[in-house]
Amino acid sequence: MPSGKQSRKQQKKTQKVVITGVNSFIGSNLSRRLANDPRYQLVIIDIKKPDFLEKGVKFYKIDITEPMIDGVIADILKKEAVDMVVHLAFLSSPIKNTTLSHELEVIGTLNMIHASSAIKLKKFILKSTTMAYGANATNPNFITEEHPLRADHGVAYLRDKMEVEHIVRRFSEKNPRTVVTVLRPCATLGPTIRNFLTSYLASPIILTILGFDPLYQFVHEEDVIDMFRVAVEGDYPGAFNIVGRGVLPFSTVLKLSGKIGIPAPYPIAYSIVSMMWSAGLLPVPPVFLNFLRYSWLADGAKAKKMMNFESRYTTKDTLESFMGTQRLRELRLVE
């Protein structure tokens, strides 16, 4: 970690930041904030031009999954003399086209890593998720960053996330001079974010597993964006969990949000969900039901200790913030 003087010196110079996946939730919010900051110069690499593009922001229309694209990206990184890569081009929900998701997440990351290895990169920031720890019966109540990633290998979505982490860890071992930060937000909720969890919690009737009531934690979208901002500004090598303070049992989550939980025994719930997943009615495959059986809470102590970052919203505040907007949506007061 640099001393205060050094970091102040660094801040005087403008830093060039490459952001991929700028149309994602974190991508759009983070790039807007960085574009308004005179200390940073943005270079956007994405397949789709974002809806906003401020002055001084460069945009390269590139599909990072194409073969041989790593050389092109490396040329761009060299030409622009990039200091930092923020890699956010990931899926927020599982999709049925597992080939596409594998190409985007794993091959895309591999291409970005190849290009980053070709230049002297100062920092590489990766977005991961605490889902990669997996929901296992043998999990400790609070999973620390050193815990192995043990998500179910049978699910393409989780397997890809673990593989991406593996690729990036290997990169950080090979390039000790590059600061590699892996940020793992837990279940993210908030007024504007949309992912499979928000669509699950938005329906009035919610399928739960009979007899199981795991503890849940949520992190507010603003806290996640702030955490990425902190990681961009300072040098924090390693993996960090981003979690909201406090936990709630899942039954209490449903009660607080005024939902009706329909409990089904695990085998029945499994067959219902697998049928609905195959029919395209549900955004998640049946293996995700384990996240309703076993706890997968992450420990946010490392981020507090090393980054001096603590989420402003508690788990309950986050839920209330999400449900408040959801109610207004139901009344069609907001969209």
Binding site: G4, S7, N23, S28, N29, R32, R33, N36, D37, P38, D51, F52, A137, T138, P140, N141, F142, T144, G190, P191, T192, I193, L210, G211, F212, D213, L215, E221, E222, I225, D226, R229, V230, E233, G234, G246, V247, L248, P249, S251, T252, K255, L256, G258, R293, Y294, M307, N308, F309, R312, K316, S321, G324, T325, L328, L331, R332, L333, V334, E335
Partner: protein
């Protein structure tokens, strides 16, 4: 450093010409007029004023902070409305009363009274309160980090009190050995087909210790993830047995009770009663060394006879997620009735605490030392059991 950044972010002090853009929430959110009640007009008017013609693709531009700011305004408005609603209703009832007096007819008064009472129930505020009170019965909105629910535990306490005072008439000996403050690791024997000894240790310490300390029992995986049992255990303060969880609890200066015998203790046949089984691999000694917490040996007498195991069916237990199904003289022959434990007389003895502060985290690697210490603790618990058994005259009457 990062703290500063976050505050700076939230106030938005840089890039003066762009602040306008950030603050204006109307660029991104469409607010549609809705017919709800006369009062909602206010909301509608306010938001319509702000609304301008927007392009559809600007939805994506709304940042979460802008949205939150708007959300707060709308929520406050709703709060105000729902508060006003009751007052409006009262004034309306007042008007009706006045009118009735002036006309001087009261043959409708009974019906009107009923209707009024009925209608007043439909005040939004009251409905909300009633629904939430039903839904949130015995549920706290805040639990501790391991899921202990204070309201639920308070509701369940009479059951444990009944078992402790009336059913098993638990007698506690040497409770003063438990420290009034600070961490301690209680190590106990494990017995009885249905392991309720943990719950009785917790209740006995809470009732007879002057400091009324709450103990966190560590539970085996199979019980912790058994359907329905798991949520009951979590809400009443039990924690899944693992090194990480136990360390976290002890670092927060809590009392933790462990059963190193584990399954071997509760599943042993009746003829081996009060004979301690192997004490795992000494994980609890390592735990005490790492966290420098004193170990208090605990002996429980009476639980063996409450549920005497004469056999076990493994395959039937697997069906319900347990490692085996215990067979007693009454279970499963009498059905669910046979599962009621016998009202034996219980004794719980607490031994003198063993100081572990002289060992540090380095000694964790010394397997021979750990084995020796584990054996010492085991002997102490066996001694407590022997003393208590000598003290006991009758299984059912003490």
């Amino acid at each position: 450093m990062p703290k500063e950044n976050t505050t700076m972010l939230s106030t938005g002090t840089k890039g003066a010409p762009r602040i306008k853009e950030i603050v204006a929430p109307d660029t991104a959110i469409t607010v549609r007029p809705v017919k709800l009640s006369p009062q909602t007009k206010k909301v509608r008017v306010i938001n319509l004023k702000k609304q301008r013609k927007t392009k559809p693709e600007q939805y994506a531009v709304a940042t979460s902070r802008e949205f939150s700011a708007l959300m707060k305004v709308i929520e406050d408005k709703f709060e105000e409305l729902s508060n006003n609603y009751d007052e409006k209703f009262k004034s309306l009832i007042g008007d009706i009363k006045k009118e009735r007096r002036s006309i001087g007819r009261d043959f409708l008064s009974g019906t009107a009274e009923k209707a009024r009472n009925f209608a007043s129930q439909f005040s939004t505020q009251r409905i909300k309160e009633q629904i939430s009170s039903i839904a949130m019965w015995a549920t706290s909105t805040e639990v501790d980090e391991f899921g202990l629910d204070p309201i639920f535990t308070a509701k369940a306490k009479p059951l444990f009190d009944f078992l402790h005072d009336k059913w098993w008439r638990v007698e506690t000996i040497g409770v003063n050995h438990i420290p009034s403050t600070g961490r301690a690791l209680l190590v106990s024997n494990h017995s009885g087909g249905i392991p309720v000894d943990g719950a009785m240790i917790v209740t006995s310490i809470f009732k007879s210790h002057p400091a009324q300390r709450f103990t966190r029992p560590l539970v085996e995986d199979f019980a912790y993830y058994m359907p329905f049992i798991n949520s009951f255990l979590t809400k009443t303060g039990s924690v899944r047995a693992s090194q990480e969880n136990a360390e976290r609890l002890l670092e927060r200066d809590q009392l933790v009770v462990v059963f190193p015998e584990g399954l071997k203790g509760i599943g042993k046949p009746f003829k081996y009663r009060y004979q301690l089984q192997r004490f795992g691999r000494g994980g609890y000694i390592k735990l005490a060394m790492r966290t420098r917490s004193p170990i208090v040996p605990v002996g429980v007498v009476g639980a063996e006879e409450a549920f005497p195991i004469i056999g076990r069916i493994d395959w039937l237990g697997k069906l319900v997620g347990a490692p085996y199904l215990p067979v007693t003289p009454f279970f499963p022959w009498l059905g669910p009735l046979g599962a009621i434990p016998l009202p034996t007389k219980w004794y719980i003895g607490y031994g003198e605490p063993v100081d572990m502060s002289k060992y540090g985290p380095d000694d964790v690697e010394d397997d021979i030392l750990i084995n020796r210490l584990s054996e010492t603790i085991r002997d102490q618990i066996q001694e407590i059991l022997k003393d208590l058994l000598k003290h006991r005259k009758s299984i059912f009457f003490g």
